[in-house]
């Protein structure tokens, strides 16, 4: 298990889009270290022969027919929007193009 530093948390907070103060970063590093320390033994339990389970029950091929349902009106779609203009969601400038 690697050490979880303030910088680790800063990186994670960037990935998770949560702004954090210096104090919060420090505190979170300590808490995360404790939690990860407590759960890390998980990685030593199962060998390569144990398959991973991502769904609790073995369902498969759940699909729907390609039939159009009732869409929301633009008004309904925008009803909860923090900001809107011309029937669209409005957001501040985007820093980087993907």
């Amino acid at each position: 298990m690697s050490e979880i530093t303030r910088d680790t948390v800063a990186h994670l907070a960037t990935l998770a889009h949560i702004e954090m103060s210096e104090e919060q970063l420090q505190a979170m590093a300590g808490e995360l270290q404790q939690i990860v320390g407590a759960v890390a033994q998980v990685s030593e339990v199962a060998g390569d022969d144990v398959p991973a389970t991502s769904h609790p029950l073995p369902l498969r091929n759940v699909m729907r027919e390609d039939v159009v349902g009732e869409p929301l009106t633009a008004e309904e779609a925008l009803s909860g929007a923090p900001d809107a203009e011309d029937g669209q969601f409005k957001v501040p400038a985007i820093l980087e193009e993907d």
Partner: protein, 500 residues
């Protein structure tokens, strides 16, 4: 980084290009990938959404069966293996056009993998491209950047988001690294994307209109010094959205890489943006930690396990592959090798087929699509198929010519007006009064004028030099602004002079 580039020839002297493509194909299903919202282009913003496509709290995805079928059929058409068990995964990243701030995609278990297609270069040389995988995912919404000078993202003050496209089914086709194309790499790039477009169109799974983003290409380019087999650092040029742009972008990147490497610098692994106006790429963002997408199996969806019998049935029902179809059409139409290759390279096979099916002769169809329409597309810098002229228009033009309502010269004008969105040929002819002058009275007046002005020519004709009549036809055509039927004018002159 400076945009200095080496000439293509110089680049090719010292380097071998390695290509790779990620082509996104938007499916033409009725509904989105994971919900029943309509999959439609051009509607009012945010009217094709459900709570699911907006990613509202509490919503869950359900897979569109038709989209899976399309993916399997495409996989088969690309000669891929179809995965016995295929999973969806979440690709986590924040972007305002992505409603859930993750894209539901496929990661280590795509629906189709290990395929290959053989494409033909312009001179008919075959080239086999290996397909690594084809996987299902969902499209993002559309951002419009406002307030900046350019309408581009840089300098914009705010952006508007339309989620109509969010959740539209996509299949991403990823090639293995393509080596050995040499100086034909740019051409191969275009031919490959054209082939994919043709395949998905042929399967009927996508509208395949590049100008609408139905087929989008990310092109990876890297260079190896001649003789080396170690791949260089690659750049990924995003969203190159026309066939000619694909060719130009690959060519440009080869030249740029060559310049950087020749100067002894290192290529930065990054995304690049293609600009059609300057015909160059600019730096996007470098690959970094921000690309930690934290893929994990989508817990809201269960595995897709295609029934082998169903897969075999789909395989049996696949339409004839485009290459077979081309052979057949070439024979049917009676085009020469060169004529047919030109048609294929111009990307108007479908248009010509539809034009013939609608009643035109093979020769007429080729004449218009490869002639005036192709010329106009070139002048206007767009794809032929995207000019706005349809097979029905061409058939109508042919019938107007047949009825002598217009002649070839007027037809060319008519095509220009159709491309301007002025309506059907008949509407254009009507609205612009372009019909040939068929009133003999008007023609006879013009003929009388012409004969009066050129008595020497009249004498020649009367003396038996019938071919001299052309000198009289010219002024008549001029007087009627080209809208006369030259054949009829000739008839009338000869009649008038008593020669039959």
């Amino acid at each position: 980084m400076s945009a200095d580039i080496l000439s293509f020839e110089e680049a090719m002297e010292n380097f071998d290009p390695v290509l790779g493509f990620e082509v996104h194909v938007e499916l033409n299903t009725k509904t989105k990938m994971f919900d029943a919202a309509p999959n439609a282009f051009g509607d009012q913003p945010n009217t094709n959404t459900t709570p699911v496509s907006l990613g509202l709290p509490g919503v869950l995805p359900v897979v569109n069966k038709k989209a899976v079928e399309s993916a399997v059929r495409l996989g088969l058409a690309l000669n891929c293996s179809i995965a016995p068990v295929s999973h969806f995964a979440r690709k986590n990243y924040f972007y305002p056009d992505t409603p859930k701030n993750f894209q539901t995609s496929q990661y280590d278990e795509p629906i189709a993998f290990d395929g290959e297609i053989t494409v033909e270069l312009e001179d008919g040389t075959p080239f086999t491209i290996e397909i690594e995988r084809a996987h299902m995912e969902e499209d993002a919404g559309k951002l419009t950047h406002k307030g900046g000078a350019t309408g581009r993202i840089q300098g914009a003050e705010f952006s508007l988001v339309d989620y109509n496209r969010a959740g539209v089914p996509l299949i991403e086709i990823v090639t293995k690294p393509i080596v050995g194309a040499g100086d034909r790499a740019p051409e191969l790039a275009r031919v490959y994307v054209a082939a994919i477009r043709e395949i998905v169109k042929n399967l009927g799974i996508s509208d395949a209109r590049m100008e609408r983003g139905n087929v989008r290409c990310d092109a990876n380019v890297s260079l190896m010094p001649k003789g080396s087999t170690t791949f260089g650092t690659r750049s990924e040029t995003k969203n190159v959205n026309s066939l000619r742009a694909v060719e130009r972008a690959v060519r440009y990147e080869i030249q740029r890489h060559a310049a950087v490497l020749t100067a002894g610098d290192a290529i930065v692994q990054e995304t690049r943006h293609w600009h059609e106006d300057t015909r160059s790429t600019t730096s996007g963002r470098p690959k970094s930690d921000a690309d930690d997408y934290r893929y994990f199996p989508e817990p809201d969806l269960v595995p897709v396990v295609p029934d082998p019998e169903w897969v075999e049935q789909l395989r049996a029902e696949l339409p004839e592959p485009p290459s077979e179809r081309r052979k057949k059409l070439k024979a049917e139409w009676g085009y020469s090798d060169q004529e047919f290759r030109d048609v294929v390279n111009a990307g108007v096979l479908d248009e010509i087929e539809a034009t013939i099916a609608a009643g035109a002769t093979a020769g007429a169809a080729r004449k218009w699509w490869m002639g005036e329409i192709a010329r106009l597309a070139n002048v206007r810098g767009t794809e032929i198929a995207e000019l706005g002229v349809t097979p029905e228009h061409v058939v109508e033009i042919e019938s107007l010519i047949g009825a002598k309502t217009i002649n070839d010269k007027i037809a060319k004008q008519v095509i220009g007006h159709i491309a301007d969105g002025e309506g059907s040929p008949a509407q254009v002819v009507e609205a612009r009064s372009l019909a040939v002058v068929s009133d003999d009275g008007v023609l006879l007046t013009a003929i009388d004028d012409a004969m009066a002005q050129m008595p020497d020519v009249v004498a020649k004709v009367q003396a038996g030099k019938v071919q001299a009549v052309g000198a009289l036809i010219g002024p008549v055509m001029k007087a009627t602004k080209g809208q006369a039927d030259a054949g009829r004018v000739r008839e009338l002159i000869l009649e008038k002079l008593g020669i039959n």
